[in-house]
Symmetry: D3
């Protein structure tokens, strides 16, 4: 991993990396890869529940990165991120990059009911208003969300990290299954990457927490399955998909996702599903020890983020880091 | 179809509808449904190839609608639309709605290669800059494109019109097939609407005009197929899908799409594909007589647009017109 | 209280009032004064802790008011407000007014430490970005915060309501005391309004929850005191002020504030301060029954907000409602 | 001609020059003068006539120049320019300069009819929306058009190049004639530069292609004439001016213009006008071989643009390059 | 002159007209034509020379017009206009129109020297920032200045008023002369309107107050001259033109201009020029009695402005009021 | 005082400092401290009272500072500042900082009457529109005004300079008195800084020039008083305060303020008040010799501004220069 240094012409402004409260462990790990300390900041709540933040290092004309995935509690973490961005801008930072490994609102990307907010667009506008000059993020729910941001976005993919894990394994008689046909494109690309076939569920969302998968389209009978999604929250879709797979004599499922949110009933549901013998995810959101069931593999995306930050800072092409 | 009239409180500004050069026949048909004449305008090219437009009725404080699908020649039609919007705004129109039945650039909705433009977002921004207060459109390539517009969008669907056509027919032993798994969600909804199953192609785009469909995922063998897509341009995906279907003993294909662009080799390809016995589409773009092969059904979306314009003008809820 | 009706020319768009989760009781009371029902909406959290809102009545071209004080939990209530504003705008509301009876962030109105955010300005910008056309609020911490908003603001005062309460009482030998000399201007105006003298504390903030009042400037010895502040949160300043007053033989204190936040140790502190025999506040924030100690007077600002909304809706001058 | 190099402090970002399809020969010539290669890019049309562009070199933090005169086909060239600008911006270019040697829309600079667009302003706004940080252009139809751009503009003049050509010739008994009194100021400056008198036509535009020049104001009888205009499109004004000059015994006309558009009937008209013995113009737009009649002098503005780009890149004053 | 009244549908917001200090006599005359009183306002200077304004009638949702030509003292009048616009906007005016009969800065419309401001554009932007929704003005120095404004502009011409004056006179042997060939287009149109020929000066500006006119181009010898300009300030150009005309045996000059600024040495210069036997101008700027020399004709533009305001207020076409 | 030089990495753009007409003596003194010459510029008035400015050094990509306090004549100085900012921006300055030692409009910071402008906000927006990237100012009337600016602000305090003066004196039996309780916070901080107690007037503004101070709150009887305000204009508050102090046996008053405007009757009033034996102020505004009564101490803030400009230019933290 390259250390931060000035580029050939010696013209770089100094880098500095701050973290909100959402996931300081990831921020520390990224800084370690960059070979720099995490810059100090203070966040606390006033007695009226207002948030307060202070950057505790000068940022004047520096190249500032603020790391904050939108994980639980999302509203507090979002408002903290906005305050940190504004504090950096008004303290005369040279450039401010919002590093959002998990952009939770990317799921609210369309108007599929009347009189709702396309929140993925609104939050992107708020981040712009608060002063971010760029955004660095990973695996947005749909690739179109990229276009919601009014500033340059570097959109990383965890697939190289996930694929590297599976490539070390026996992939014979294996199929990648996407729970939702509407988001099967990535699963298809992932399967092609691994050299295995793909299948997809015909999913019908009943409520946020209850979905119904009518059938699995594609040949899965008796195969080993990599169940592949961008995010697992309550694991409702996962459980429904495994139910259908079970009917097709599938007994060996490896659950694979970028964002391991595992909220609400997720852990108990996964524990109650014997077909799932393995869970492979990343650390875009913090996963406490008690959620690390079934010998969960939490692969680190810190090296990828560190490399991206390094390239942004030194003005190098990032094409090789992107998923196309 | 309701005639335009003032609402209960008599407070409406006068409506007026203009059309660019892209599809005057549709504009005239919409005006007929609204019971008002199409307002006159002039468009011509200066000797240096600059476009020139003039609105020939006063628009001061009126409720102006400008109808222009982005069909061939797209650049000229786009620039003409922008000039018309600007002319209306600077002539003190009360409100200006861009009516874009076919928003061709909605296909360029993500950054799937380095250093390209997310053109669907850029063009949306240009339309905003030119002075549109609202947009009325139909069947964007992906629903997320809605969020690219900085102004309110009413996003119509042609599915009710298309479904009404098929519901009159025998749908036994029929399956809806989406050529591309990545956009199968709408096909799934359409199939559910008709009460038939769904299947989808695992598609790999080689170039803009050459795609490869590796397989059809789902059960289609020996069935009658409604091949369903939002837009058919060169018909490359269609021909590939039929080739795979042919291998699965499908001999009866009805091709169904909202936007019947039929460009380049499309017509000769379709003529050379005997399995396609029927083509069902709409008039969001003009389809000249010579392209109306195989007794093509060109269903009119003019009543839908007229109803939408009427509701926008009179401030009524449009929820029942939308696809969710 | 006047009922909502069209003005002389019959040109008003229909009014409709929504409420977030922060203080539905106040919203209902305001609607009762307006003689209209509170419009229905849904707010819930997705499994990944994202907020979701839906307006459940058509708002197309209507005059929409959204009521949400920024009370605990502030971040959730703020994000909910932003989503509601955006949903109304993109559903083609004619005008959207954010009604924020308690704008908690108005206390973060200056840069009194390096590298902080002037959050009162940032949040005002976020509210603008989310689509509010106007703001209706009450007793901002400093009157300058008015200027932070990029849209018209109607800034109400609760003083008429509070003064009416005290005017019914015996005010002989009474002095109004402001805990903080830096915000004594309002106390001075309030005292003049009641026809009594004023005094003020020389306050030094140690931390958010601990302040030190060095002395009370002005003549208070042996008098009855109305201790007057815009907001009481932990009651730290109040307790300090009473300690100084006690040293000056004051034994009879009526605590008076617009925003009765009463957070953290406030209730126990107030209970432990026998000099405070009375608490007079308003319902800009919800005050649960268990906090209503010492026969707390919670005066309703609902009539004032209803009158203001009525005047905004019908385009009448509001000068008489403002505090100058 | 200076080569591109870092300035004294070594702080320049790398330069890179792209060209759209409008005039690659000029772009190549400019790059030759700069001593750098033209950066590769791809432009093609999708099957639905949408334009697609891709920059094929990294532009991250580079100083990007995109060369595109708005020549035939103007709409396609304009949209291609906008897509290139957006692609550069969103690929994190350090600065993007639109180099528009011929800004065709500068002629639409005023509202001389009701309900038209001041297109020179609208197109300038579109270029801003698409992401240009600066504009470099030449001889706008009126100098006020400079003020239509929301970003810094460097406005070059071809007059030094044109004047250098004439200064080598015998200018005795010569007069500069502007076809249109309304734009005679430049002709006057040009004449003063050459040390000869000036005259001007009293012009009345009938349509875009037919104008009537009532008379030539000033002394031209029997003189040699340099007929001087910023742009020659159909040559309608030119032919009318020569008709009036012919009546005043002028038999020797040298036609001189910056932008040699020569569209429609221009070439046949000029061939049919024996008084015009010479045509002097520049390469701001491509002039194919078949239009190079009467031994046309096409003077190159590439050195001027290269010098301007060099100075913009290295932050040197450009005053000496401008026309005042 | 029509009285203000509601239009057919009775939907107009109430009109109200304010005036700054620049030219209250004109504002009163306009109001008289409109049949409404001038609304009261207060303007004064604080002791630190800050301006202060207050509108003294409610403007909530009203259709507000603010009349202020940019006459001496221009900076104070400009700042007062900006404060009045902001006061109206923030007091919730329904629409705010800046009525600027004389937009003095329209002369600074191009970058004819390095490192200057195109002030006509900057001031237009300031007026936009201060909250004007529209602008109503008269005879901008160049028509391109219209495009500098980001909002709709109604650009009136005083030519009908001026031409009506001359049409009552004997125009035989008369020629219209423009002092400056660069702005001769309007003189040409005016002359054509009157049915007389036109001539123009070849002018070279030395400093703001000293110009040199080298010659008059066109046939003027022995004729009666209408010397025609948009604005006369120091009368430097006028005096120079008359000097050249004198050399061509012109002895009878009628000076005609829209904006009669007559600053500095203007009056003494005009008095010292016997050829000028008549001065015809308008009241776009106040002309005190002592400047009304030579039986100066000050034609009123108040009816024209009143008619324009009436049409803006009632949403009627203004085409017939414009000069094309 | 440090000289301007490149920072360690040699990446600084060249600095250049311009001055408007408001206070060239201060600008020259600041430049002397910076060790660089004041860059030349021209400001004059056109004959129609329009302002004209020209920067006479190239500013292309330079770090430009423009010094202009808003002193008498405020409107002219403001407009000149706006023109200078615009000229610098459009001449491609790398960064433009408005240096406004006295921001006179900061007093108009709230809406304390109906239908007025919060001019401190409006003027801040105008400065943003004109192209300032940053603002450097001193002692705004209220600290909230900082938040009115849409760009980074460095807000200096003259208190270190003023306190240093008093610390050299005998401060026994001394009290700091703020004339207005509403702005007593700074006086309190200043007093704490000097180690002396504080008192404040209960002030009621009757008009801009007449205020009434009802009483002094706090213990002042027989003490020596430092009468402390941010700005002294007509000295109305000062005289009122001294009248109250006189009643409390105060005979020795040192008047201390940052901005010594001393307008209208100020000087004669101060001369007529024997208790004021000393006046201590700074040179944020020019103070002509005839106003320097009572051996007035005019302390220079030039070193502070030079240090701030140096730190802004070289990107060093300014925390130590701010007042918190």
């Amino acid at each position: 991993m390259p250390r931060i240094q000035d580029n050939a012409k010696g013209e770089r402004k100094e880098i500095c990396v701050f973290s909100g409260q959402a996931h300081r462990a990831l921020a520390l790990e990224i800084c370690e890869h960059l070979g720099i300390p995490l810059s100090p900041s203070v966040t606390r709540k006033f007695s009226n529940d207002n948030l307060y933040v202070q950057l505790q290092d000068s940022v004047r004309e520096k190249d500032v990165f603020i790391i904050q995935p939108l994980t639980y509690p999302v509203s507090d973490n979002l408002v903290e991120l906005l305050l940190l961005l504004d504090a950096a801008r008004s303290a005369s930072a040279g450039r401010v990059t919002a590093v959002i490994p998990y952009y939770s609102y990317s799921r609210s990307d369309k108007k599929d009911e009347p009189r709702i907010s396309i929140a993925a667009k609104l939050i992107a506008d708020l981040i712009h208003t608060a002063g971010a000059n760029r955004v660095l993020t990973m695996t947005l729910h749909s690739p179109q969300v990229h276009g919601f941001f009014q500033m340059p976005v570097d959109h990383l993919s965890a697939h190289p990290v996930l694929a590297a894990f599976y490539r070390k394994k026996d992939l014979s008689n294996t199929v990648v299954v996407a729970p939702d046909m509407g988001h099967a494109k990535r699963a298809f690309a992932f399967a092609r990457n691994l050299g295995v076939p793909v299948a997809a569920g015909a999913k019908k969302r009943l409520t946020d927490e209850t979905v119904h998968i009518e059938t699995i389209i594609g040949d899965v009978r008796g195969k080993r399955v990599i169940l592949f999604d961008d995010e697992v929250a309550t694991a409702g879709s996962v459980i429904e998909a495994v139910a259908r797979l079970r009917e097709m004599d599938v007994t060996d499922v490896s659950l694979c996702c970028t964002h391991g949110v595992f909220s609400g009933p997720a852990i108990s549901r996964l524990l109650a599903t014997p077909e799932i013998h393995e869970i492979v995810t990343t650390n875009t959101v913090p996963i406490p020890q008690e959620k690390r069931i079934k010998d969960m593999q939490v692969l680190s995306v810190a090296p990828l983020f560190a490399e991206a930050i390094h390239r942004i800072h030194t003005g190098q092409s990032m094409t090789t880091l992107f998923e196309y």
